[in-house]
């Protein structure tokens, strides 16, 4: 049983109780993904599995045999920040930084969701591809809580990253 995390193969744990998040944090010391609630309510643990975002606190590591996971540690190009990471810094899309990895991973994922036309709860017309708007971004990021209140900067950063029409 192996899992790939940021292009590195790892053996999966024997203990079936271990969540993907705890596996990464406590066994592999990949602390970039954060644990805000451990119950699927804050988004701090968001990672990509084969390009789709999931909440790694709600995923059992053993279920991800053969899958490829990307975490916040895997999106930069060496010293060069991922474009969305750089936009978070420029736009003051953070304060304490604890929600930040999850917000960035969600931001990366929502761009591809929008690009392939997946609708959200605020999409007005389900028969056509959703029109880019700040509300589309906000809705798609609403699973990522921020208690410091960096919301405006976060949305500015993600909107600049996603591009397209502004509302």
């Amino acid at each position: 049983m192996t899992i790939e995390i940021n292009n590195q193969p790892y053996d999966l744990p024997d203990d079936a109780r271990i969540s993907l998040l705890d596996f990464m944090r406590e066994r592999l010391e990949l602390f970039g993904s954060k644990k805000g609630c451990n119950q699927g309510a804050c988004g701090a643990c968001t990672v990509l599995v084969d390009g789709e975002r999931i909440l790694s606190c709600l995923a059992l590591a053993a279920q991800y045999d053969g899958r490829s996971v990307t975490t916040i540690e895997g999106v930069a190009n060496g010293d060069e920040l991922h474009p969305l990471q750089a936009l978070f810094v420029e736009n003051e899309g953070m304060q304490c930084g604890y929600c930040t990895p999850g917000q960035i991973m969600s931001g990366i994922a929502l761009k591809s969701e929008l690009e392939r036309g997946a609708p959200s709860n605020v999409s007005a017309d389900l028969t056509v591809a959703p029109r880019m708007s700040r509300d589309e971004i906000k809705e798609r990021l609403s699973g990522n809580l921020c208690r410091c209140g960096a919301h405006n900067g976060i949305i500015d950063a993600v909107a600049a990253y996603v591009g397209g029409e502004e509302q």
Partner: protein, 784 residues
Amino acid sequence: MTNIKPNSSSHKSDPNRRQVLAGSAAVAAIGAFGLPVGAQTTAAPAASGAFASLGVPHIRRDGAEKARGGAKFAAEYSYPGMVYGALVYSTIARGTITSLETAEAEAAPGVVLVMTHENAPRLERPEPFYSSPTGMAGSSTPVMQDAEVLWNGQPVAVVLASTQEEADHAATLINVAYEEAEAVTSFDVAAESAQTSFYAGRDLLIEEGDAETALADAEVSIDLSFNTPAHNHNQIEPHAVTVLWQDGILRMHDCSQGVDLSAITIAKVFGISPAEVHLSAEYVGGGFGGKTVWQYHILAAAASQLADRPVRMSLTREGVFRICGARAPTRQRVALGSDREGRLTSLIHTGTTMKIENNSMTEPFFEQSEHMYRADNMHLEIRAGTMDMLANTFMRAPGAATGTFTLEVALDELAERLAIDPIELRVRNEPEVNPTTGRAHSQRALVDAYREGARRFGWIPRSGQRQGYREGEWQVGTGMAAAYYPYKRFPGGAARITLNGEGGALIETAAADMGMGTTTATAAVASERLGIPYDAIEVRHGDNTLPGALIAAASQQTAAIGASLTAAHEVLLAELASLVPATSPLHGLPAAELGTAEGALYSLADPQQQIPLVDLVALSESGTVSAEAQGGPISEWTQDWSMHSTGAVFTEVRVNSVTGEIRVPRITAIYDCGKILNSKLAESQFRGGIIMALGMTLMEGASFDERNGRVMNPSFGSYYMPTHLDVPHIDVGWTDIPDPQAPTGARGIGEIGMSGPAAAIANAIYDATGKRARDLPIRLDALM
């Protein structure tokens, strides 16, 4: 604004020094390196031009590290042999543990220790806030020392195991039996025997004149009651600590808002010297008043000692709700009497909150009423009932968060009754000097903030008529309120400045950064003070081995750091003076006649005479020049001046007439907080407070089962907080007038955002719907 001199002339605040400097040629150069030169003047407010976003918007220094996921938090340090902690919580509110069955847990896989009151090391009671100058604990309740249970959620056992999963499982195998005692777990019951409370060195009672008679005799009066529930900080990082005992030192990686005070408090519990505790917290995942000393710190350290293993203790989200205190509920009465022109003749702000026997924290919700408006007669009083619950504590803008809600809603109602615009009513009651202390304002331009806010928001003045209108299903309204938070500066701040041979400097101070941007702001202040480029300044913080006992609380840390840097700079000047070679014209000048700017030491009398700092550092034996000092006396706010920040908040609210859904599409807030040191960070701080206030107004509240005192919604799934879709783009601005009495000209910005929006939103809801909501949170059922 009248210009009354304070009694004390001995006050030597830094801005005075800067005013002296303002005449010298060197000042323009200082500005080039650090803060804009405008920051150093004390010019009167210009009507609107002064509201431009001044202040250099340096990008936060730790931004890239946080964005990479590389910032290390308390639960992210590992040691060989480290074990994981899990807690077992009491299920009764008060009583005695009669039996503890731990054998099954002890035998469970991976378990290395089960600690209960029967085998825990003997510990002193923790010192809570206000019990000593260094008390940093939420309460003095003993930590696992006996069989007594004092709240529902009190830890009764700690399990250490090789993995978190094993510890969590073993914790479920422990059986605890209790003999229950009668407990006060209903706020109603506690309120019946509430007493006038003593808090922060005074009785929470202020009486001037006869407010009740004045109310009865007033030409116009209102008398209103309000309720606000308990609130949780809900930092996204749950409280956590990694602990080990090594070479006689208790090493703790913590998430503390005040590393030094946390270390001292914990040292005293273990009966060791503070020098035997090394506590650091470089990154803290949100604080808001809640990242102080709670039982888990002590339990983790005690269990680590007992097991002789490093321990990581990360609270679950439910654990945070059960053992880390939060804002207490309140019941408030605000009664206002005025003449027909709206001049207040009576201001009554009284009410009840709760505390526990083992703490001294009373939610001080009348403070804004004490300092904001002139009234001939006043009665301000807070009573506290004692409950058998988790200790309540400080949460962002203690007192003012709920106190401004009630006062500012009452003013809105009075304005309507008087048929006066709500801004005009406030302007008419703007005090010339502090209404209760009589001291002169150090700086106050609230009226400018009202005017600028009204202009930016597009406020429509009203005189007793609602301005709300309907747009399809939506009822739209606007409302405004004032914001308030006091200036404070605590003693104990200190800093060390070390100049290196490359023209740079290292600043070391035990300050905390929970995300406000402390290191970024400190570097900017140091750059301005030293005349050294911002990028050549390194800042170390968040470690109790660094100078000072600072705490990021009450929005005072920036002032404390500023005063410490000023003091350290004075010592540094003396050090530099001693290095000046005999051949230099600066030779023999005392420190008081010297300054630093543009990377050089210069003569204040003749700024052309200078020596590059690198040349002086090269003359020192060690190759560096270092100076450390404590911040000066704090009399500027305790004795001399009335120092308070204010603001004006405007909101638009839309209420759906079918579903009752409430939305807040527009917020404008203008603050009068002194100098803004970094516009980017300040904007974010203000917005952060406003967003937390939005949550407090429309969704937040911790619910307790009154039968047994247990919190009923200890999760993010049931304690609602604002999400992205709830939060509009928030327009913030500031008067940016330096406070001549504050060490950096800045009065603090972390908490005032929390004050004002609740009333502005409630007032807008009234404007939209004609319904007055006086209980928080205002959820849709209140408007159906």
